[in-house]
Symmetry: C2
Subunit: 347 residues, 2 copies
DNA sequence: GCGCATCAGTCATACGTACCACCCCAGGGC
DNA sequence: GCCCTGGGGTGGTACGTATGACTGATGCGC
């Protein structure tokens, strides 16, 4: 390439690296670029990374791609990253989110494959997957801190995760959201409230449940009945059904997220209950589904894109050697058609 | 590190790289691993990538993270990749999917940022973002082939994209799915059918629309009325409404995906029409939403995970220098509660 | 005409790994 | 005692880039 352009390798690096101003004449620079274009030559990323000791790329770890909620989070991250010359790569890591294998390396089945090919645990830590590990920083969304153990020494910020940990965090004020829902239902006259909780063992759900329980119990005459549900379709419906079929069924169901609320709708319909006349239902997250349901769902909207942006900003601070303060973003109660006064409170 | 373990750098590389069997004694190998553990030492990924000229990582490009449909696709890709010692990284690239900027580099705002910092287009092609570009192969989901222009020379397989292109493809048989829906509605007695099409200009939607139109027009007395909708919430409702408010409204609405179908439900309800008694509605994709709706949606389930797995297998073949044959995966019509004979056909 | 500054570019080196070629040593056959 | 073999390990080099130190040429002030 260098001789194709009639210059030295240094000059090629200068030009293609974009820092030629004042060192290389515009004419020469143009010549180099044209030669590169002609030959389809591009700078070798691995060599650059090695030389610079940096990749200017961060990794966003998410529990799954099945949840559209992470879309806007990525958007926020990518926006701030781009503005600062960073790239973003997404790494879905369900094992870490579920807790199994969170202590291990981020290789998932790779180690198994390694062993299969005769490795029998030699490498000890996952060695394959260059690009995935070659990042300057990590944003871990809805994860336990153990998830970071696979990346010792890599700067990290936790999103929507327990702020009590060692790593800096940016979280939603999910407790505030839960309190807002409780206050809304209390104002409508509800006292006997059901909580259809997510079975996922994550800080965000623990925090929602805790705040909800505290709010309801502080209510005169308030009682909370609780059940858990997996995310599989149908499971939420069954779980909500358990509460509705119990003695003294609740007049309102608070669901840990919007998808669970959809299950609650179906449980209500199956029992001939009208939402919201016979049963109020609330969700959390305000994803597209919330307005696709009939009636539209009362829920708490969480600023997902802002979370991503704040998280990336915090990570940039960490990379600059600073220690960003913990950050909590408030949600917003969105009252739609799924909540109303309980039957008994009406004339 | 080498002297900490009392061996040469070569031996460290051998041991940590996992190919020491027969070259290093087990005792020495253990010593090296212990020293590495003690020092928190790990092999440098960038150096390895440079030396080997490979990263054993592939990139899955998706149009957006907002759509849960891509979750299972990733799962399928990751499964096959892991089995073969490859890592997978996800790169959401909305600009490419929309067609604007598809001819450019995969840098999105990065070039803008570059210019901002004084680059004024010098680098020409995106130079930042080491990890994102350092991949051995690309799987591009629901993309136009132009999206690959940003990665000249990188082996690629297109998923759910126009099979007429130069790159190998793995697609859903969306045309077959559309025909199955048309046949189902025809069997129920529907003749006047509305098509609420996605405004996204992608092969998959063009193929759906084309097959549907052909099927309906082949029907004795069959007519198809068509409208387009954006993905924004509410837009689908409005679009469906346009068809329902026209002269001689259709007795069935075929929607390009499940989310659009949810909008159609709302349009029907707003007009006092019962689904499926007054109006049949169908979707496509069979995402979770399909069973969250009431009534549950008749739709076509697409084998998303299988698509990912087949795609990754095809990419591995390409990396081996082979030329995998085009592959088309059939969908499966799932008849649920949203379709029924039209009113006129009933006694 | 001379010294000095500036411009345009090159040289040489280091980044950390993988692996070929080599070396050393112990043991064994004869 | 000598050659051979093979196991166990090391030396040295190349991968392609970025960059500080250096060089040669040109222009300019005096």
């Amino acid at each position: 390439m260098a001789q194709a352009a009639g210059v030295s390798q240094s000059t090629v690096s200068l030009v293609l690296g974009g820092k030629w101003r004042g060192r290389v004449s515009p004419a020469t620079a143009r010549g180099v670029r044209e030669a590169a274009e002609r030959l389809g030559y591009r700078l070798n990323v691995a060599a650059r990374n090695l030389r610079l000791g940096t990749t200017r790329t961060v990794m966003l770890i998410v529990p799954t791609l099945d949840n559209p909620f992470f879309g806007p989070v990525y958007t926020g991250v990518a926006r701030i990253a781009a503005r600062n010359g960073f790239g973003v790569v997404v790494y879905p890591w369900p094992e870490a989110a579920r807790g199994d294998g969170a202590g291990g390396s981020p290789d998932g089945g790779r180690e198994a494959a390694d062993a299969e090919r005769g490795g029998e645990g030699d490498g000890a830590n996952g060695l394959f997957g260059g690009a995935r590990e070659a990042v300057d920083g990590i944003l871990a969304m809805s994860m336990a801190e153990e998830a970071l153990r696979g990346f010792p020494g890599t700067p990290a910020v936790m999103l929507d995760s327990d702020p009590a940990g060692a790593a800096p965090t940016v979280v939603f004020d999910v407790a505030g959201g839960a309190r807002a829902i409780a206050a809304h239902l209390a104002a409508l006259g509800h006292r006997r409230i059901g909580h259809v909780a997510s079975a996922v063992d994550a800080w965000t759900f623990r925090a929602r449940g805790g705040a909800l329980a505290a709010s309801v119990e502080a209510l005169p005459g308030g009682t909370l009945v609780r059940t858990e549900t997996a995310i599989e379709a149908g499971a939420a419906r069954e779980a909500a059904g358990r509460l509705l079929d119990g003695p003294e069924p609740p007049t309102a169901l608070v669901c840990d997220d919007d998808l669970i609320a959809a299950g609650a709708y179906k449980a209500a319909r199956a029992r001939g209950l009208d939402v919201p006349r016979d049963l109020s239902v609330t969700g959390m997250d305000d994803v597209l589904l919330a307005t696709a349901l009939e009636p539209e769902l009362t829920t708490v909207g969480l600023p997902a894109e802002e979370l991503g942006a704040e998280g990336m900003a915090a990570l940039l601070a960490v990379l600059d050697g600073e220690r960003p303060p913990a950050c909590s973003l408030p949600g917003r109660l969105v009252v739609r058609g799924s909540t109303a006064p309980p039957r008994a409170a009406r004339p």
